[in-house]
């Protein structure tokens, strides 16, 4: 057994183990995912096949992640001003894989190359999730990832927010915290394939800190949000008033990023339009574009998403994103860079044991091509085929093959950038939530 050498990881693991043991001691039905546990419902009530949500699951999320009888699962302590869950509302998601692939790790500055054609990626991640209604209108949701993608010694908090379902009785919901902007379209956490929705990552519209308002107006769903626009990592000392001030600064500039989506059902198709306008730091000259500079530059994203299903067992989805990064590279600050990408997929769930998925990712670096920066690597054309076998509703084995349709680039500039190796892979593993 490999010893744990990092204190941070060991501490986190210890806390996690204590939490799990305590929960097991008070909750005998621990082997069920949290929402199913709380409402005494089958996982099948919300999932067509874990983690894909069915229509009722989507309704549950839209209903502030609660059912009308949520108070039944609160402690009966005779205080109307207190709605404590009877037990700590915790759940775990864990993934472990073994992968064979062609992709290599190439240092863009030196060309130094590491490769591992076969790779045990176990654990790929361990997530600790928690969510519960706290009042008539307020719900919280949170999860932390331990050892994500081999990063032992780290615990990363991604989704972490409060949501009020009805601000001032207006019917408008408000969510405050960390969340993914792209969740307005297709939440990455409930996708069936291992392969990611790459256009979201490339466009930088995943995790950020901010506020999101949403409301339904007749058949139209509206969402409008405001975020810092610098992700979820920055954390700067506020030191100008004096020495050792306690507060921190999460944003690194005065601008905020505004984004929103409008959507409706058109017959059997749900169609949405996404828009974003904000600032991002420019990229310094040299070093393959891996370093940010100090200029704030304009960033805009427009998106179109379409989705639907056939008979409740075949789901399809399409996403297109158009990106405008004005003056993004310090090497040519007067130049505006446009690029586009997207993905399309189908999930077919023929039975309670099997699910099959296809996901096609496409991205074109556009104006960022031949810039001798890592942004040349926005290019992508790959098809992922996934088969999932459900040992239980909440435990699946997964086999996936990713086929890369792009040819390898040859190094043309000073740096090792672009599509220098193919990204074909085959992957097997387990994905469980409990």
């Amino acid at each position: 057994m490999r010893p744990i050498t990092r204190h941070g990881y060991a501490d986190a693991l210890l806390i996690f183990q204590v939490a799990v043991l305590w929960v097991i001691s008070v909750q005998t039905a621990w082997a069920m995912p949290e929402f199913a546990r709380r409402y005494n419902l089958s996982c099948a009530a919300c999932h067509s096949a874990f983690p894909r949500l069915n229509k009722f699951g989507e309704h549950f999320v839209a209903s502030n992640m609660r059912l009308p009888n949520w108070k039944d699962s609160t402690a009966k302590i005779g205080d109307k001003m207190l709605a404590l869950p009877v037990y700590p509302p915790l759940a775990v998601r864990a993934q472990a894989y073994v992968q064979a692939r062609e992709g290599k790790s190439i240092d863009p500055l030196t060309g130094a190359t590491d490769s591992a054609t076969t790779d045990f990626q176990s654990p790929y991640l361990v997530k600790l999730l928690s969510s519960a209604p706290l009042s008539e209108n307020i719900t919280y949701y949170f999860y932390a990832i331990l050892a994500e993608k081999g990063a032992n010694g780290e615990a990363l908090v991604e989704d972490a927010w409060f949501r009020h379902g009805d601000i001032f009785g207006t019917g408008t919901g408000m969510q405050l915290g960390q969340f993914q902007l792209s969740d307005l379209m297709f939440p990455r956490e409930v996708r069936m394939p291992f392969q990611d929705f790459m256009a979201y990552r490339m466009a930088g519209i995943t995790y950020d800190r901010g506020v999101l308002f949403d409301r339904a107006v007749g058949p139209v769903e509206l969402a409008l949000g405001l975020v810092n626009g610098n992700g979820i990592v920055d954390n700067l000392n506020v030191n100008s008033p004096g020495y050792r001030r306690p507060d921190k600064m999460f944003d690194n500039d005065n601008s905020k990023t505004v984004f929103g989506r409008i959507s409706t059902d058109i017959g059997p198709v749900n169609a949405g339009l996404f828009g974003l306008s904000g600032k991002q730091r420019s990229i310094a000259v040299g070093d393959a574009g891996i370093n940010s500079s100090s200029r704030d530059t304009d960033k805009r994203v427009l998106g179109l998403d379409l989705s639907g299903d056939f008979g409740g067992n075949t789901y399809w989805y399409v996403q297109y994103l158009w990106n405008a990064w004005d003056g993004f590279l310090d090497a040519d600050p007067n130049r505006d860079y446009r690029w586009q990408g997207g993905f399309a997929g189908v999930d077919y769930i023929p039975s309670e044991r099997w699910a099959f998925s296809l996901l096609y990712n496409h991205a074109d670096a556009g104006d960022l091509a031949n810039t001798d920066t890592i942004y040349e690597g926005i290019d992508m054309r790959s098809l992922s085929l996934t088969a999932s076998y459900y040992f239980m509703r909440n435990v699946k084995g997964i086999a996936e093959i990713n086929v890369d349709f792009l040819n390898e680039d040859t190094k043309t500039g000073t740096y090792w950038t672009g599509h220098l190796t193919k990204e074909n892979y085959v992957l097997f593993g387990f994905d469980a939530a409990f």
């Binding site: 069920m32 199913a36 005494n40 419902l41 089958s42 099948a44 009530a45 067509s48 069915n54 229509k55 009722f56 309704h59 009308p68 009888n69 039944d72 064979a100 062609e102 299903d309 008979g311 409740g312 067992n313 769930i349 023929p350 039975s351 309670e352 044991r353 099997w354 099959f356 085929l385 088969a387 076998y389 239980m392 509703r393 086999a399 996936e400 093959i401 086929v403 890369d404 349709f405 040819n407 193919k422 074909n424 085959v426």
Partner: protein, 189 residues
């Protein structure tokens, strides 16, 4: 063909074969549903309605996915996760299915005293036949030969008792409250 045209070389033929084998495993070989709800009623022979429509008569075994379909009409959303039991001479009962029900089976005792009382009030008029109509229309329609006031009162009581049962099933009122209100309703002329 597509692969060769685009210059893609599959590097892992063995794995691909395995994946293809997985994909081509006949879906029909898998269990259609993993779990089932066994449903009985007292009296037996009650018609069972799910969100998708009629499922049969008790005693009956129902696949979990029939109770929790992945898709349904918006106007049927209130029936999601429920079973509705109808029996001539008894009050219609709507029950929200829990994991415990699926694990242990569900035996529903129908309240047939209400209809008996209503029938008595209606001076021996025959019970209307059970139809496949939605829940709301399962309440018997007014009979022209019965005095309007008596019929209207008994119909209203039936509706109130059904709503009461639904409130109890959904955990919105306690069992004690349900009993108290039920007694009050039955006492009220």
């Amino acid at each position: 063909m597509l692969l060769s045209e685009t210059g893609c070389q599959l590097p892992f033929p063995a794995a691909l074969l395995l994946l293809c084998a997985l994909v081509t495993v006949p879906a029909a070989a898998a269990e259609p549903t993993l779990r089932k709800l066994h449903l009985e009623s007292d009296p037996p022979g009650a018609e069972v309605l799910l969100i998708g429509g009629k499922a049969g008569h008790t005693p009956l075994t129902i696949g979990e996915r029939s109770i929790y379909p992945n898709d349904f009409r918006d106007d049927q959303a209130h029936l999601y996760g429920t079973v509705t039991l109808r029996h001539a001479g008894c009050a219609t009962r709507v029950h929200r299915v829990t994991l415990d029900d699926i694990e242990r089976g569900l035996n529903v005792t129908l309240d047939c005293s209400v209809r008996s009382a209503a029938r008595a009030a209606a001076a021996g008029k025959p019970e209307p036949p059970v139809s496949a109509a939605p829940l709301a229309s399962a309440i018997p329609s007014a009979d022209a030969s019965v005095p309007v006031t008596t019929e209207a009162i008994s119909q209203r009581r039936l509706r109130q008792l059904q709503v009461l049962q639904e409130l109890l099933d959904e955990g919105l009122i306690s069992s004690a409250d349900e009993q108290r209100i039920r007694r009050q309703l039955l006492k009220t002329p």
